[in-house]
Symmetry: C2
Subunit: 213 residues, 2 copies
C-alpha cells in the first residue's frame, strides 16, 4: 500500500492510487493534494489508525497551559477564565511500539529548498539527546508543505546540523540533505503517513549498531 | 539508600535517617511526615531527580484543555479566556527508562483499609491494556495518604481486580492485597519515591516470562 520513492527522485502524488486518492481526484479534478490539512492532522490520523489496528500506542501530548483562574458555575462544567500558554519542556508526540519507546516532533516548512532550524527549540534537542541516551527512538517528521513531501529524519541527522549551526554553520538543512539522510514517506490513505515502516529500518540499524558495541 | 520492608510489615517512616528526614525531624520535633505534599509532588520531584541524574526521562503530561477563546493583547502574552477541562484519554505519566517504555498513573486514597476502584477510569484500563500489548511497562503508584504508605502495583494486579468488579466483585482493593501483590516503596530524600528500583524487579520477571515463550 505504501510506495517508496528512491532518494532524490521527486515525489509525484498523482502516482498514488488508493481509493481515498481517487475519490479526492474525482472531486477536485486535479492532482491529489493535502492542502487544508495540517501535518498535525496527518500524524494524529495515523496514530489513531495505529492504535485501532493494535500496531502502536502513540499520542500527541496536550498543549501545556498555566491555569490562573477557574470558575465553577452551578450545574455546569468548570470554565477556565484565565490561562497562559507555556513552553513545552518535551516533544509533542511519544508512545510505545513493539517494545520501543518512540519520541518525535512534527514540523512543517513552506520553504521549497531547506528546513529552517529556527523551527526547533533548544530544549527539544536536549530532550531528544536524553531520550537517545535512554535507548528510545527519537526523530523528526518534516513536511515541506509547498512540495507536499514528507521526511522522517533520524535525530542524529538533526543534531548534526544543529551542532554545525552552533559552530557558525548554516541555519537550515537543505532539501538535498533530507533526500540523502532521511527517509521519504509518501502520503497514503490508511495510515496517512506510515512512519512505522521507516522505524522498522531505523531499529534494524540500531540492532546492527548494538552488535558492534 | 532505599530501604525495603518485608511485605505485610508496617512501614515506619521514623526509621529513615537520610539528612532531609533528620532536618524535618529537627524542625517539627515529630516523626517524618509528608503532609502538605501531594503524591503528584512526590512523583514530579522523583522524575526531576531521575532526569537530572540521567537515569530516566519520564514526565507528567499536561492537563488536557479544550481552548475556546484566546485574546491577543498588544505587547503581551496571549491570554486564554475560555477553556474547559477534557477527560484524558491516556495516563498521566510516561517516558523511557533504559530502553523500556514506562506508563503509569498515580492515585491517592484517604482510606486506611482499601483502595476504591472508582479512582480509576475505564479508559485508563483500556489504555494500559494496549501498552502492555506493545511491550511497555504499565503500573499504578498508589498512596494510602492517612497511612503514609506507597505501593507500586503492576497493571496485572489492578486489571485482575477491575475484571472481578465488572463481574460483580468488590469495588475496592484491600490493603492486604497491596501488601501481598504490590511492592511497597518507602519515602526517601533523593529520589523521594524510588520506583525505578521496583521496575528493575518487574523487568527481571518480564525477561523470565519472555524466556518461557
Amino acid at each position: 500500500m505504501v510506495i517508496r520513492y528512491p532518494n532524490g527522485k521527486a515525489y509525484k502524488p498523482s502516482q498514488l492510487s488508493t481509493p481515498a486518492v481517487k475519490k479526492e481526484k474525482a472531486k477536485e479534478n486535479t492532482t491529489f493534494s493535502n492542502r487544508g490539512k495540517t501535518l498535525e492532522d496527518d500524524v494524529n490520523e495515523t496514530n489513531e489508525f495505529y492504535l485501532a489496528a493494535g500496531l502502536a500506542n502513540i499520542h500527541k501530548k496536550p498543549v501545556p497551559v498555566q491555569i490562573v483562574k477557574v470558575e465553577y458555575p452551578k450545574r455546569s462544567a468548570a470554565v477556565i477564565r484565565e490561562a497562559y500558554f507555556r513552553t513545552p519542556s518535551t516533544t509533542d508526540y511519544n508512545g510505545v511500539w513493539n517494545g520501543y519507546y518512540i519520541d518525535f516532533e512534527a514540523k512543517e516548512t513552506e520553504s521549497k529548498t531547506s528546513f529552517p532550524l529556527k523551527n526547533i527549540h533548544p530544549h527539544q534537542i536536549t530532550h531528544m539527546q536524553s531520550i537517545v541516551k535512554q535507548k528510545g527512538i527519537a526523530f523528526f517528521i518534516v513536511r515541506f508543505s509547498s512540495l507536499e513531501r514528507y521526511f522522517i529524519a533520524p535525530f542524529d541527522m538533526i543534531e548534526h546540523a544543529w551542532k554545525q549551526m552552533e559552530q557558525g554553520g548554516r541555519k537550515s538543512i537543505p532539501l538535498a540533505a533530507f533526500e540523502e539522510h532521511a527517509e521519504e514517506v509518501p502520503l497514503g490513505y490508511a495510515p496517512r503517513l506510515d512512519y512505522l515502516k521507516v522505524l522498522e529500518k531505523f531499529t534494524r540499524n540500531l540492532k546492527v549498531r548494538e552488535s558492534y558495541d
